[in-house]
């Protein structure tokens, strides 16, 4: 028994390198004099993972390949460099969880990963892993692995780790583990072993040292000196309700029933801004509103549509099947809303004069929305809409823009002048 281990009898096959790693980790911990409950051991799935019941420190045993990510979460959560998050993972776990190791190295988290690389999946029957050397025989490559194993150390070092080392799992490896545990930032030790149950039996005539050399993966250590990641002890947070703009609300609206409006134009022509201005103006007048946008995932191209409901009472259902009003400012907008317009049997269609008028039961108002310039055509369209329908007043639209401090940024005067000539 040691400070680190609660038993001398470890649960590994005779000759397994996992046993050596556990005992040398214990030695390193004792040499460093680390308080055992300052250590959080995170183990993976695989033969090495059954060590956790033999450990005296905190232990967390998760899913296959995810121990580095789980350990990263603990490191972030503790946010305390005096704690040692120690991750044990096999070559299989390192393969399936490669991204997790790379990410922890990229963030340079204060944690240590020890990779038990015995060149194959021991627990499931000796299959090849992503770290199996070329030519090494496994149960799934009896003639020798035809592929190259990852150079895990090179990759993790390149990702930003402060310390990476590859060693052979023979003799006293505690100095390397000890060094890794003292590193500030991310450290990883890849220990090359040979599985006595599968590796030795399937490669009977090969010496361990020759296998390591033939793998083409150099032994050694690679360092860098980056600041480790620590989350700020206190971070400025913002109450999400305090950020909401206050609106001067006066119950001036004469609207006595819900109305639905579809505003359709082109991306980059201010459709959503115009819709937001309209709904805020309606809010000022004491109306309830809903607003949602619809546009392609590539938000800078194609149609842009806003669906708006205005109502004197609470709006429960905010979908719009067939709108009461449609405001169409461009070819894209017409294409997107054409079916709805054709389904209208009443209401009003406001449509730019450059566009063909679809078959519709709605009253049609043709307006030269684009005369104001394509970029401002949607904003202009809601002013026209307000003036011709009186559902929301032009004054409320102006007040909304002024209150939001946008009077200088938007062509308000130009729009109001154009409106006069309607």
């Amino acid at each position: 028994m040691t400070t680190f281990l609660n038993t001398n009898t470890l649960p590994f096959c005779k000759g397994c390198g996992h046993d050596l790693i556990a005992r040398n980790t214990a030695k390193a911990v004792e040499n460093l004099g680390i308080d055992i409950l300052d250590i959080i051991a995170v183990t993976d799935i695989g033969c090495h993972g059954i060590i956790d019941k033999a450990l005296n420190c905190h232990t967390v045993h998760g899913l296959h390949g995810r121990s580095s990510a789980l350990g990263a979460g603990i490191t972030i959560g503790l946010n305390d460099p005096s704690k040692k998050v120690l991750v044990f993972v096999g070559d299989g776990g390192a393969t399936i969880g490669l991204q997790h190791i790379m990410e922890a190295a990229r963030l340079n988290l204060n944690m240590t990963v020890i990779v038990h690389n015995n060149f194959l999946y021991g627990m499931t029957g000796g299959q090849s892993s992503g770290l199996t050397p070329t030519g090494f025989a496994t149960t799934t490559s009896a003639d020798g692995n035809p592929f190259t194993g990852y150079d895990l150390c090179a990759m993790v070092h390149a990702a930003g780790a402060n310390y990476v080392s590859r060693i052979i799992g023979i003799g006293d490896i505690s100095p390397t583990i000890q060094k890794a545990l003292t590193i500030k930032g991310f450290s990883m030790v890849e220990v090359m072993e040979i599985c006595p149950s599968y590796g030795v039996k399937l490669n009977p005539k090969r010496k361990f040292a020759e296998i390591v050399e033939a793998s083409g993966k150099p032994l050694g250590e690679w360092t860098r000196d980056r600041l480790p990641f620590e989350f700020p002890k206190s971070r400025k947070t913002t109450d999400l309700f305090e950020k909401l703009a206050k609106v001067n609300i006066a119950n001036t609206s004469k609207l006595n029933k819900p109305v639905s409006i579809v505003l359709s134009g082109s991306a980059g022509e201010g459709v959503q801004l115009a819709a937001g201005t309209l709904t805020k103006a309606a809010l000022r007048e004491g109306l309830e509103i809903t607003q949602k946008g619809s546009y392609p995932v590539t938000v800078g191209v194609g149609f842009s549509t806003a669906e708006i409901n205005l109502s004197p009472s609470e709006i429960n259902f905010h979908g719009i099947d067939i709108p009461d009003y449609a405001v169409i400012t461009s070819t894209d907008g017409l294409a997107h809303s054409r079916k709805r317009i054709e389904a209208m049997t009443s209401g009003i269609l406001f449509i730019d004069k450059s566009l063909p008028i679809p078959n519709t039961g709605a009253k049609v108002e043709v307006v030269d929305f684009r005369s104001i310039g394509a970029r401002d055509s949607s904003l202009y369209s809601i002013f026209v809409f307000a003036k011709l329908t009186n559902l929301v007043s032009v004054d409320s639209l102006v007040a909304t823009i002024v209150d939001e401090g946008k009077a200088d940024k938007l062509p308000l005067e130009k729009i109001l002048k154009a409106l006069e000539s309607l």
Binding site: L37, D38, I40, I50, D52, K53, N56, C57, H58, T59, V60, H61, G62, L63, R66, A69, L70, A72, G73, I74, T75, I76, G77, L78, K83, Q99, H100, E103, S234, R235, T237, T238, D239, L240, F241, K243, L244, A245, K246, V247, I249, N251, G276, T279, K280, L283, L287, E288, I289, T290, Q291, K292, V297, S313, I315, N316, F317, H318, G319, D321
Partner: protein, 372 residues
């Protein structure tokens, strides 16, 4: 007639209310990977949560969250089906380790990537079967902005109290729609305090009191903490299938079911003489409210049930549904998932369905089915 005071109305989306509620309830970390339509939840969290980190994928998201929970935090994430699918194994891990956290699932049209910008209600069956062994994990579904506030806080509270992941189910149409709303109507949320084991006796991380084990984070120096996702005894030692270990796994299901009365939420609007019932949850509840109001104004007396606790399913829903000659279930899917979850293939003869995908169920569809 009273004129409602609208002077305090603001324009707000469900995402903002959900994240603010969770933060006030004590959630202190958001880990996430962006996905439409959950992006507003992500961006608000970056302003609101004391810890906010961008994970490189959704598996990492859940693993980091689990690590944070192991260290004593209450983490939250938000995603939609494609991301949620990647999280499922790790949610099973957190369920087995008994780690508190909340996953906000914003439904969109599937299968697979489907249509990212179209709402849906197609993930309920998935949630009911997502824990290997068929064990339930708590799922609450919001159907109004008040729910976004109340149920979000409850989700955090249940996660901590029951030591379990909790799913908050919502939809694109709720978290991305801007709507006028009086925030001053919302009640005050008190932050949940995590209770830690504080005895001098050796700590057993899975020794239950009333089915729930006391929690202790790693890193403290008083007791060793052992957590594992494998079948384990009360000490947290992997134990294959011995009696104590199997009892521990059985307890996970019993725990979630035992406390169901404490997190059973639904709205039930009744009128005397009603022979019809409309049942709708989530984003279809708004259409159902309008439909029921219209039916009653037409003299077709109709009651309304809005389930909010989806999993485990409260027995109360069955007794309510059985009272009516006609029970119309409206869901934005084509396979009646809510009804399937309760009744399976043996649906009561009073059941009628309003189903559809690709657009919101309308009040008119519901009215038509009640009238038919």
């Amino acid at each position: 007639m009273n004129i409602p005071d609208k002077s305090k109305n603001r324009i707000v989306d469900g995402s903002r209310i959900i994240i603010e509620a969770m933060a006030r309830a004590g959630a202190d970390a958001f880990i996430g990977y962006p996905i439409t339509p959950a992006n507003l939840l992500y961006s608000y969290s970056s302003q609101r949560m004391p810890i906010m980190l961008a994970a490189p994928d959704e598996i990492t998201t859940l693993q980091w969250m689990s690590g944070l929970a192991v260290a004593g935090h209450i983490p939250v994430t938000a995603t939609s089906f494609p991301g949620f699918a990647l999280m499922i194994e790790s949610i099973n891990m957190a369920y087995m380790m008994e780690l508190p956290m909340v996953i906000i699932l914003v439904q969109r049209l599937g299968p697979a990537t489907g249509t990212a910008t179209c709402g849906a209600q197609g993930d309920l069956t998935l949630l009911r079967g997502m824990i290997s062994g068929g064990h339930p994990l708590p799922v609450l579904c919001t159907s109004s902005y008040e729910d976004c506030w109340t149920l979000s806080a409850k989700a955090v509270e249940i996660a901590v109290k029951l030591r379990t992941p909790v799913i908050l189910l919502t939809s694109k149409e709720e978290v991305m729609t801007q709507k006028s709303f009086d925030l001053t109507k919302l009640h005050k949320i008190e932050p949940i305090r995590q209770h830690y084991y504080n005895s001098d006796e050796p700590y057993k991380p899975y020794k239950p009191i009333e089915l729930i084990p006391e929690f202790l984070p790693v890193g403290q120096k008083k007791h060793q903490v052992r957590l594992t996702a494998s079948t384990h005894n009360q000490a947290g030692i992997l134990m294959n299938t011995d009696e104590e270990a199997i009892a521990n796994t059985v307890r996970l299901e019993e725990k979630v079911k035992k406390y169901l009365p404490e997190y059973t939420f639904y709205d039930y609007h009744t009128q005397s003489g009603a022979k019809n019932l409309v049942i709708a949850f989530g984003i279809t509840a708004g259409a159902a409210k309008d439909a029921v109001a219209a039916l009653n104004s037409m003299g077709i007396i109709t009651d309304l049930l809005i389930p909010k606790t989806m999993i485990p399913t409260p027995e109360k829903y069955i007794s309510i549904i059985s009272k009516y000659q006609k029970a119309v279930v409206a869901e934005e899917n084509i396979n009646n998932q809510f009804s399937d979850m309760i009744f399976g293939t043996n649906k009561p003869s009073n059941h009628r369905f309003v189903a559809g995908i690709g657009k919101m169920i309308t009040p008119q569809q519901i009215i038509k089915e009640v009238q038919s």
